[in-house]
Symmetry: D2
Subunit: 347 residues, 4 copies
């Protein structure tokens, strides 16, 4: 690589017509599709969570999908040199819908306002229903259309990835429907372009993958399904060597964020906020009690999902409160520049 | 007061030196301190949650306060004509710190990252510590100072009331430390000036009170104590007759909001979001399933508190998504105008 | 009764035809109906939780009852000399159905396998249905009859009180539907005759009451309603002076038990088991860690209720494991003897 | 083995000195160690949860064990003919300690009365401590000895397996520390000899394994560690073809039982009790509402564990209430006879 050539670039094609049995629907348990050097660009795409099988309001999840092949991920990718105890950094430089539509549904016995397989009740399931959203990339609008009335609502396009993760610890293999300390299906709208996601490495090569693009979603993902959409995505990949990250962290130009995933929801909150306290200790040298106090008066706390096998809460601290403080040795700023340069080159 | 002078105004003085045994520290169970007509202005003040007893970093809650007299409320006020089945509307026109300091603490066996009396564990309590914040009302800044290092942080002044409620149903009397369907200690930063709070009336006269001013707080109120401050507060009071409000709702110029209070935290989420779904049904005529879908893609969901006997989650929908829609027969807009007029008169 | 005949006896009549508005349906907030000396016998009765209003399978809760007058209690009784910091001991010497029937129901949006007002969902409520049980006191059998098939099942009569409590702390008044540290609606089948219930005193006179007789119930009270029955009940009342009891405890000839009430259910578990650990420390002089270990290998942990506003878990330790150890200065044995003597006299 | 000798018998040796990296510490993700025909006897043994590495009170988990190799399982075994949609039946004919000692510990940030990695708090961990129990197989006694005082307690020997499971669905691989719908680390004392465990088959061959023998444990396994002991175990294995079992069930001569594993604990309760309701429907032909009622008055509900990544609750119904009713086509009785015959032959 020459100084003028920029970082290495991996272009990885995803075949929308692939046999579903060949989809990667787990974290862990799959062979890498490619390998990458740290400080590389990955230019790829993702299928939507239904692998493109729902296209009209008449398509039902329960009829069109085998539950083993839901929420396919692009990857896993092997990062050269990644070892347990390191942190993987994934900067999302671009997340853009591939198609001019997105889809949402209700799924029987799934969703925050429904009995489920574990919040087991004796009610009949809620109706299964599908909504199709027109996506207008030029005007950056997503069009909601009610199925049972004339209601139409224009919503801002706000693309993001619901699922980003690495292979879990302890030899576990987890469904891509589950979030946890390996990342996974966190379903937070904070995972939009401009964000850097930090994930602790559990196995050699990290084996990261991502998918579950959403043209937008509400916080909490109330019914369990966002505006699901295939995405074109550019990620800048890096390693922070010998820095452990016990739970996923995010960084943007304006915020440091921690994500906790657990049940009940207060445990997701506890994880996210204790991680934020410990991060403030690292960043400022404050004592734990002083950091606890500062977090108590400054945290912003959007709920990410209350529908997956673990729920996710994000805790955010505005960087403006701690001017001059830099996290992860400036990784976010560096990756953002690499991403911008690449996108500029491609434009 | 003359007909041309605007709405009736009640000025209610609160004596900071009052005998603690005469403080109102419950919702229900107390005689009204005054009565008000609907469409009145209430111009009053509130003590801080410690009744002013903590003033230096050496003052500890466990030494300075009798737990029966914590979180005193201003009120209760009797609203003429309020009957069970009506909704009380309280528009906060002004919430302004009375003093140039605020105070926060940790309290043994209290807070989201601590064992408590009900999340009972065998650990020793975390250290009890007090922080004093200088409040600069002119520059709108609150000054955080670490106790155990040199860290200093400037935070925006953002005054609000942690506790607003009416007398509960079923003849219950609840501590002002508890939130529930009667409102109470919801501890959401959304209860700032400019917000209208709607509460279902359970007893004749509604018997509302409020207090627990915060110069600011993080979402979730992680350690359980915000920047506690005495407040000067102007409220515009009204009734929405024969409209029931099962759980508290808030309205600002930009948002409709619902607040759910329960444990575990997912039940607070479920209450807030099911209430938001039902509110969208009322506002738009959409079906429940279509409203569920719209809420799923639009809700903003800040956690309010994860420390009180019930936890509180707020669900918000931006009004811009439903242009031309008006809630509660325009009560918020009307009260905001009355409040602005009164403040203009006083300026 | 003469001075030589044993303890003072209070016979308290309950009028089944009383105006519902005069029923006591709270803990706290009601004037005492009578006062008692410590070491007294109270010979009284209780209405069933529906105040006798459901008598056939066609009677529905939602049609026949005002929710303000559900679960009426007998009392409150003022115990002379009871002060905050003491423990009230209530030994149930006899609990016997007054009538030859009991009743159970489903209640819309109530029960562990149903959406509720706080586990708020979008499902339609489960069907409301009433079951009438014949109670055969001679053969000690309760007769279950299915409503929708020919299934008939004979179950053992096992009478108990679902609700036993004192006035709460902090001036609170709580619905008799709620359990907490004051006792209340714990709904544990362990509250049968032969058991002594210990409750911490919060207000002068303790102001105890009880009710909610069940001819039997399953652990957890799955649908939320047991075989509800009016009871004739004999209680021996005593005080353990200057012994605080933070959460309810029970004692029988064979077990020491602690009851925790909270949400989520694991917090009820944590309360009950941490209380049992601390009780073992008091009884044996063991360290907290050694007691934790002993409880871990010996506790029996029946769920009491998963339906009320707080859930209740009971932790039990068999007395046989700690031979020669006596709790509460032998109160249980003493009250059991007083109760037996009284019942012998009455026979 | 001869044709007249009864069912096929597999004797499977477990090497206590095996390299830890060769231990099976997951459900799923491991190659079968042997295959079995339905209606076979498996005569084998299990290592204790610490693979024998803790032998004195000075041995600490954090010093002696690699967390990847905790809770090793014997297996997995491939059952010929087992297909997804079938039910595997495992009858425990004999569970007997191999050694004359058992071991328990506290583990930092683990246990129901401790902050943990997910119930994340700011407390220091509780002390790490180890207890050694002498096991007297002849007198059937387990000897508790306090570490910090002279307290000694004799407890009944009551051997059981904490962990029994099959390979999970969706290609997942789960740590043997986790319980779920595949069984796993349910930690219920009901899994003693005499019990038949029914598990739904998710993959060809079922791939069952078991381990985590306990010389005894309290319900809830409060500190997270029972009296851990290596076991000699005889299991009778069978298939119930084309009967799906969504969550683990158990059967003894006296009880039908269902086990639910989830967080929060009320969801484990909901799973277990809804499964019991549906089982009563299958067994009696009653309607769901009538079965719900019967379960409400008869269920016994011991908590199994409140310490693992999912908590487990067991719901039990006494068979005596439904005389003449047979579950799973009499599998339990049949396997019990096969087991007794084999043990008789071996005696």
């Amino acid at each position: 690589m020459t100084a003028t050539a920029g970082p290495p670039v991996l272009r990885h094609e995803v075949d929308p017509q692939v046999d579903p049995r060949r989809l990667t629907c787990t974290f862990g348990g799959a062979e890498p599709v490619a390998s990458l050097l740290p400080r590389s660009i990955l230019d790829t795409s993702t299928l939507d969570a239904f692998a493109g099988r729902l296209r009209t309001v008449h398509d039902k999840v329960s009829e069109r999908l085998d539950r083993r092949y839901v929420n396919p991920q692009t990857g896993p990718f092997y990062v050269d040199g990644a070892r347990p105890g390191d942190t993987l950094a994934l900067h999302f430089a671009r997340i853009e819908p591939r198609e001019s539509y997105g889809v949402s549904t209700t799924v029987p016995l799934f969703g925050s306002l429904s009995a489920t397989g574990v919040t087991a009740m004796l009610h009949s399931p809620l109706p299964e229903m599908t909504w199709i959203y027109a996506i207008d990339r030029r005007s950056r609008v997503v069009h909601y259309e009610a199925n049972e009335s004339a209601l139409r609502v224009e919503l801002p396009l706000d693309p993001m990835h619901g699922t980003v993760g690495v292979a879990p610890a302890l030899g576990e293999v987890r469904s891509s429907l589950v979030p946890g300390d390996w990342g996974g299906n966190m379903d937070t709208p904070e995972m939009r372009s401009g964000a850097t996601c930090y994930l602790g490495v559990n196995v050699a090569g990290a084996l990261f993958s991502f998918g579950d693009g959403h043209a937008r979603q509400g916080e909490g993902e109330t019914c369990g399904v966002a505006v699901e959409a295939a995405m074109d995505t550019v990620v800048v990949v890096d390693l922070v060597k010998e820095v452990a990250t016990p739970w996923p962290r995010l960084e943007t130009d304006e915020y440091w964020m921690t994500a906790g995933s657990a049940r009940p929801l207060e445990d997701a909150f506890r994880i996210a906020h204790s991680q934020l306290v410990h991060w403030v200790v690292e960043l400022t040298g404050a004592s734990v009690m002083d950091a606890y106090q500062l977090v108590s008066q400054t945290a912003e706390t959007p709920v990410a999902n209350v529908v997956d096998p673990n729920y996710t809460v994000v805790a955010k601290m505005a960087k403006k409160y701690l001017p001059g403080v830099e996290a992860m040795a400036g990784t976010h700023q560096r990756l953002r520049q690499l991403g911008s340069a690449y996108l500029g080159l491609m434009a």
